[in-house]
């Protein structure tokens, strides 16, 4: 008993000591400038960083003095991995770089390797690639819109956007068997023949989509809370943005008409009629408007692709590079030999280098591929848009309020897999 009592008494004493006196609870504010500064660690697990981004913020009250992004938490070494994979084995890795724009990453890789191989892709495959790229853009923008609005408290937007996104993922699943890691665009064409009845599924979705965009705009465009949170926030001069290597919707929101689909058309984009939306606000609100307009333009492109889809082969005929038809393998010895050689040895790609750029939902996506003539890439560098866009974070945040940092970061549309690779 003695022991217990002394123990309780000692606890009491500690408790007494720990209890702050009135002066400790409300200390006199220290007004020296050095005392008002603090360093706030945001992330890597913060929900509004959309992944594992860490930003160190030096604050003076609520004003950000300095911001320093720390990346690398999602570094998976995909570029190193590509160097030990055969050319055809790289395609599934490209899905995992930007997991919201997987088909556009597939396309960029396929175009680059086809350029090295000087391989002609059938027209139907090209049109299908364009259609799927634009559906991917819709998918990516929907995720961006939902999470960006959620960050700023508009929760219902998230549900509406993911409702439509689900339809797009079902289309991807119908085509490739996979919802996200599709690997559907391969070197030479497509991975599989398009499924029976795809026209109806895509047209049902796309014909109803314009009214869905109307719904989003009704909810947000003139919403006073949304305008207050986004207007005049995150402004960086256009020259600085270009200097920092920023591309995509951020530049278009600053009034620069830049779009790789128009400037250097690839995969037959020159046959499609669409506009490049630009705004001059250069703030979070303008970036929002640009992406909303891009959704309408993507819808237009998908409709045109649906109406004018040519018939024909879905993959190029290139013995020794493209896997032969299953039926041919049962009757022709050459087909069987080619199949065996491609699967075991891979196919050689002529020595050379190529830098292929496509327009991803986030900006310019570039694959720089160096081949030494073997069946594996010698070097594959992914110029991902998010990596360059993320460099503009200090310029966007410094000197602004802490609450605006969420809106600014959302407007960059970060995908951390795309940053860290």
């Amino acid at each position: 008993m003695d022991k217990l009592e002394t123990h309780v008494a000692s606890l009491d004493a500690e408790h007494e000591l720990a209890m702050p006196g009135p002066g400790d609870l409300f200390p006199e504010p220290d007004t020296a400038p050095s005392a008002r500064r603090m360093v706030l660690n945001m992330g890597p697990q913060h929900p509004s960083t959309h992944g594992v981004l860490r930003v160190l913020l030096e604050l003076d009250g609520e004003t950000i003095l300095r911001a320093r992004p720390e990346i690398g938490y999602l570094h998976t070494g995909i570029e190193k991995e590509c160097e030990v994979k055969k050319w055809q084995q790289v395609t599934p890795l490209t899905d995992r770089v930007d997991y919201l724009a997987n088909l556009i990453n597939n396309l960029c890789y396929a175009l680059a390797v086809e350029k090295l191989l000087q391989l002609e892709v059938p027209e139907m495959a090209q049109w299908m690639r364009v259609m799927l790229s634009e559906l991917t853009r819709l998918n990516s923008h929907l995720v961006w819109l939902g999470t960006h609005a959620l960050d700023m408290g508009a929760m219902s937007m998230f549900f509406y956007c993911f409702r439509e996104r689900e339809d797009i993922l079902k289309i991807f699943e119908m085509f490739s068997g996979q919802r996200m890691m599709t690997s559907y665009i391969r070197v030479g064409g497509l991975a599989l023949e398009p499924p029976r009845g795809w026209q109806k599924v895509v047209s049902d979705f796309i014909n109803g989509f314009d009214s869905k965009v109307d719904e989003y705009e009704e909810l947000l465009n003139a919403n006073p809370i949304w305008m207050q949170r986004t207007k005049g926030v995150g402004i960086v001069p256009l020259e600085t943005l270009i200097d920092l290597g920023v591309t995509g919707p951020i530049l278009r929101a600053a009034g620069l008409k830049i779009d790789e689909r128009k400037d250097n058309p690839y995969s037959g984009y020159e046959k499609f009629d669409f506009e490049v939306p630009t705004y001059t606000g250069n703030d979070v609100y303008a970036r929002f408007l640009v992406r909303m307009d891009e959704m309408r333009q993507s819808t237009r492109i998908v409709k045109q692709a649906l109406a004018g889809m040519p018939a024909g082969a879905w993959i190029a005929k290139a013995p020794g590079i493209i896997l032969p038809d299953r039926e041919q393998m049962k009757t022709q010895m050459e087909a069987l030999i080619y199949h065996f050689k491609i699967v075991t040895e891979g196919f050689p790609v002529p020595a050379g280098e190529v830098f292929q750029v496509v327009e991803s939902p986030r900006g310019q996506l570039g694959y720089y591929i160096v081949s030494n003539g073997s069946s594996k890439p010698h070097r594959l560098f992914m110029r991902t848009p998010s990596f360059a866009n993320l460099q503009s974070i200090p310029a966007m945040l410094e000197g602004r309020l802490l609450a605006d940092s969420i809106a600014s970061m959302g407007s960059i549309d970060l995908v951390l897999g795309d940053v860290d690779r």
Binding site: E79, I242, L244, E353, V357, G366, Y368, R379, F381, A388
Partner: protein
């Protein structure tokens, strides 16, 4: 020396005249232009390209390791002229212990790309504002994208025990 089709090129020709000897070699293949630049003169060539040839944006910087050849590294700069809708590739050949001048004073966007090359290839850039590892942890040993670095790594990132 510039090969025949490049002497007519709107950038390569005038650049060669303005900086005699700075362009070591030129290549034109698959519709893309690559110019090999003398490593000591990369910054002056780059600032001239930005100021007078309208290459406003640096799309990316990376390296290619040709180990065991010497010089083992090729540093690759992808330049983009937005106003002229033109792309250009600059290359610099350096060996393992040669440093290179940073082009961050020319394009601010080079900052992270050079940090990445430093981190993954071990090439040092002098005059860089903040040359630290960017992808790998700060205490990491080795440079993973080098060809003599095994794919599975030398050790795990956490304690082996």
């Amino acid at each position: 020396m510039l090969p025949e089709p490049l002497a007519e090129h709107p950038v390569a020709g005038p650049l060669d005249q303005r900086f005699p000897g700075a362009i070591v070699e030129g290549k034109f293949a698959l519709g893309e232009v690559s110019l090999f630049i003398d490593p000591a003169r990369i910054v002056e060539v780059c600032s001239a390209l930005k100021q007078d040839f309208a290459f406003e944006q640096l799309t990316g910087v990376t390296a290619v390791d040709w180990w065991p050849q010497e010089p083992r590294f090729e540093i690759v700069y992808q330049l983009h002229s937005i106003s002229k809708n033109r792309r250009l590739r600059l290359k610099v050949r350096i060996s393992e212990h040669d440093g290179l001048d940073s082009v961050t004073p020319v394009w601010r966007g080079a900052n992270w790309y050079e940090r990445e090359v430093f981190d993954l290839f071990g090439v040092t850039f002098s005059n860089h504002p903040d040359l630290e590892r960017i992808m790998m942890p700060a205490d990491w040993e080795g440079h993973p994208l080098r060809k003599d670095y095994p794919v599975h790594g030398h050790r795990y990132s956490y304690a082996d025990e």
